[in-house]
Amino acid sequence: MLAHVRIDLTVNGERREGVLRGGESLLTFLRDTLELPGSKNACEQGECGSCSVLLDGTLVCSCLVLAAQAEGHDVVTVEGLARDGALHPVQQAFVDAGAVQCGFCTPGLVVAVVDLLERMPHPSDDQIREALSGNLCRCTGYAKIFDAVRLAAGRA
């Protein structure tokens, strides 16, 4: 039978708790239990980056983290970036640069770019490409995503 375990953690600044029904990933827990579907389920094996979140400030694929491992830790998802109704500067840059098409990769990329610009406020083009090489996008060919990173970095 399915085991039931309760965990609690901080998500987007709020204390959250929930029941695990098995060995589910942090991604599944965020999406199905905490009803935060912004992190996406494109491959669920750490290849596409669509589920990227910040775990104690480190960029991770939430599909590769067991929900149970996040017990007591701090998680920031794409839903936690906008403040008081205003888009995060990286989100605004994605909108303005035309970096969004179908948008399924967008939450993961936005989180990855937030992480990049925190570590490296003015990355070179090659640094941008390398930093985002773990996030697959099938629609854009990446050019407008690079534009968005440069735009966000330039506005900072």
């Binding site: 579907p37 989100q91 909108v95 035309g98 179908c102 629609c139």
Partner: protein, 739 residues
């Protein structure tokens, strides 16, 4: 205000402006709801048992043990399909659930529904299916001699040529002029392409909700809501109005959502349980759960005069359609119609055959038919240029197809087709200088995986030209409805079933409505079959043209209606049709009316690559392209289509292939099926060539497919220049370029 009064100038939102997307904000915040994000109280989870065999007789299916497991609310087989047991886009040849035979690995055999997805997965393991394996038909040439996989399907009809060879989906022969006419030089080649996958990121998903009166609402990611409904309803034995399709957020499609996936399955489970049922494919199931790009084998013979004019071309095109027909007939038509490329050729014989096999079903993918033949035809043009000692760009200019010339089907080109302009603009783009060595490994072929300092690098510059049709062809009654509600306060709501799959048709419709109505106060209603007629498919680079036409017509009619009534609220629906086409003659492949294809779009691409010939690695350094776009509705969105379409062609050139063994996919994951990353994509320099299409609203053309058609050919052309190898197969493999 009437349609003829001068409209106020708008700060934002008109046709031709460079605009961010309306739906980008919810997409960057994570609020945008994709099919896999849907949920509703009391929802159950469905799952699908799939065939492990490429070809087998189904002896028996026993679901008893599954029904006894905890949390299980049902297990269904073909016996539980109340209506028609078969469905399909062009031929109803695909079972909703396998009946007495399975024809590909991954074919749906049974369904289960449970409280929790994990319970559903366990229940699948408890279903006992007895199979009697049969020899699979896996070679597209041998398929024409082996046992027919669909013995009951008629060999002719639908305007198709009679062909009694086994496993022929469609055989199309285009004979034009005298194909036997001699030339001074002859070049021949045989070209092959592997199976490409759309690899959209949003997995197939749907939520079916019973309405309590026998009908069902299906929320799903698809490309054509109404044609889904028209396939689903007969299988459920329901009237079309009892089945309502609603578009959820769509995480990319690229042709892979033209066919049904879980639409019927989720509805069956919902009606069986009386509860909402959600189904979500994981990535491995997605690879088997949708059709792919047809692999092809193409034999060519090009003849030309000494000064470089094409005198005759022969092409024999074989396409592996896999287990079910899907869009194979249209893919065959496009391969044949556009096989020669945008060149004036007075004499041609083009024979196209799409076959059934036990390989994964193939159907629509961006640029279908034209992608495969462009790769072959452009390799031939490069070979011919080399044979004649001519510049490849000059050879293309010399033979360029222009308005007034004929396609090999006899169709005279009457619309816009600025082939020479496109060639000249792409060829004039300056290529970057070669970068010096040593350099950052990130900028070597293979990136940081390159263990050398670049001694083996050879640079090559390539060029290619490609074209394809815009809108549906061959007499298909192609139309698009839009409904406009004008409120008394001047604001408006546009209803359309046009599927937004990421390409940006929502923006196009808003731009058109704002332009026509002279107001910014326009919103779009949800896309659904419930409130508006069919929009047709988001396919064939048709949606911008068709939706723009329908919304324009409805807006103008609404303004007239309000003028007539002297004000108040008006609500009108209009249907837009493009110029009528007629079928090709089944025996000669020639047109039977003025045209078989509505309009054409052409693109040229210049590419610089570096190939490390010691390691078999390639870096695409730079891409420059010029594309015939009619009228750029929103340059920002248009550039995104060209950049993204180029990336998919780069994938097919260098890395993307579904590998099968005895019909079974060996690489159904993003670990093993590689798509281009941020490190693989070069800068793409874009020239937009705007020559309005006379028959289209505002002169627009579709723009999504031409970059994908031309980029594989252009990249491999550059790799040939770098290596001197013929490179007749895409994707090119490391062994092919190690010298």
């Amino acid at each position: 205000m009437s349609a003829t009064t001068e409209r106020p100038r708008l700060a934002v939102g008109r046709i031709g402006e460079r605009l961010p997307r309306e739906d980008a904000v919810p997409k960057v915040t994570g609020e945008f709801s994709y099919a896999s994000d849907l949920s509703t109280p009391g929802m159950l989870w469905g799952d699908t048992l799939r065939s492990p065999h490429a070809h087998a007789r189904v002896v028996s299916i026993d679901v008893t043990a599954a029904l006894g497991l905890p949390g299980i609310h049902g297990a269904l087989t073909h016996e539980d399909v109340p209506g028609k047991k078969l469905y399909g886009l062009e031929f109803a040849d695909q079972p909703v659930l396998a009946i007495d035979r399975v024809r590909y690995v991954g074919e749906p055999v049974a369904l289960v529904v449970a409280e929790h997805p994990e319970q559903a997965r366990r229940a699948l393991e408890a279903i006992v299916v007895e199979y009697e394996p049969l020899e699979p038909v896996v070679d597209m040439e041998r398929a024409l001699e082996q046992e027919p996989l669909h013995p009951d399907r008629p060999t002719m009809g639908h305007g198709y040529r009679d062909d009694r060879r086994p496993n022929v989906v469609r055989h199309l022969v285009i004979r034009h002029g005298d194909p036997d006419i001699a030339g001074d030089v002859v070049v021949t080649g045989t070209y092959e392409l592997g199976i490409q996958d759309q690899a959209f990121l949003g997995p197939e998903s749907g939520l079916a909700i019973p309405d309590g009166e026998g009908g069902v609402d299906i929320h799903v990611a698809t490309q054509w809501l109404h044609v889904d409904r028209d396939q689903v309803a007969p299988c459920l034995d329901l009237r079309p109005e009892q089945v309502r399709l609603h578009l959820s957020g769509v995480g990319g499609s690229f042709g892979g959502r033209e066919d049904l996936s879980m639409q019927i399955h989720s509805a069956l489970l919902a009606l069986h349980t009386g509860r909402p049922v959600k189904m979500v494919y994981d990535r491995a199931e997605s690879f088997t759960g949708h059709v792919h790009r047809h692999p092809a084998r193409i034999r060519c013979e090009h003849r030309a005069t000494r000064d470089g004019r094409l005198t005759s071309v022969r092409m024999q095109i074989l396409l592996d359609g896999g287990a079910y027909a899907s869009s194979s007939t249209a893919v065959a038509s496009n391969a044949a119609s556009f096989g020669l490329g945008p060149y004036r050729v007075d004499n041609a014989l083009i024979e196209t055959t799409a076959v059934y096999t036990n390989n994964p079903p193939c159907g629509a993918m961006r640029g279908f038919g034209a992608v495969q033949t462009c790769f072959a035809a452009e390799a031939q043009m490069d070979q011919l240029a080399a044979e004649l000692g001519l510049d490849p760009v000059e050879l293309r200019l010399l033979n360029a197809l222009e308005p007034g010339d004929s396609l090999p089907t006899g169709q005279v080109i009457e619309g816009s087709l600025p082939t020479r302009e496109v060639i000249r603009r792409a060829a004039a783009l300056p290529v970057p200088d070669q970068e010096t060595l040593p350099r950052d490994p990130l900028r070597l072929p293979g990136g940081t995986g390159n263990t050398t300092t670049g001694e083996g690098i050879r640079r090559g510059v390539g060029f290619a030209l490609g074209f394809k049709n815009i809108c549906y062809s061959e007499g298909f009654d192609d139309f698009c409805a839009a409904r406009v509600v004008l409120h008394a306060d001047g604001s408006a709501v546009v209803h359309s079933a046009a599927a937004e799959v990421g390409q940006g048709v929502v923006g196009v419709m808003l731009q058109v409505a704002r332009t026509e109505l002279g107001t910014d106060e326009v919103t779009l209603a949800p896309h659904t079959t419930a409130t508006v007629g069919s929009a047709g498919s988001t396919s064939a680079s048709r949606m911008t043209w068709m939706a723009a036409g329908a919304v324009r017509d409805a807006c103008r009619a609404a303004l007239e209606e309000r003028e007539r009534r002297g004000g108040g609220e008006v609500d009108v629906e209009r249907v837009h049709r493009h110029p009528r086409t007629t079928p090709l003659d089944p025996e000669t492949g020639q047109i039977t009316g003025e045209r078989a294809h509505v309009a054409l779009a052409v693109a040229a691409m210049r590419v610089v690559v570096e190939v490390d010939v010691e390691l078999g690695l390639t870096r695409v350094v730079w891409v420059g392209t010029a594309q015939d776009v009619g009228k750029a509705v929103n340059p920002l969105a248009l550039e995104g289509q060209i950049e993204g379409g180029t990336a998919q062609g780069l994938g097919l050139a260098l890395m993307e292939e579904i590998v099968t063994r005895n019909g079974a996919i060996q690489n159904a994951s993003f670990t093993d099926y590689l798509i281009p990353t941020a490190l693989d994509m070069p800068p793409v320099e874009i020239e937009l060539v705007e020559v309005p299409e006379p028959d289209a609203p505002y002169g627009v053309k579709g723009v999504g497919e031409p970059p994908t058609v031309v980029s594989t050919a252009a990249i491999v052309s550059a790799m040939r220049a770098a290596t001197g190898r013929p490179l007749t197969r895409a994707p090119v493999r490391p062994d092919d370029i190690c010298l």
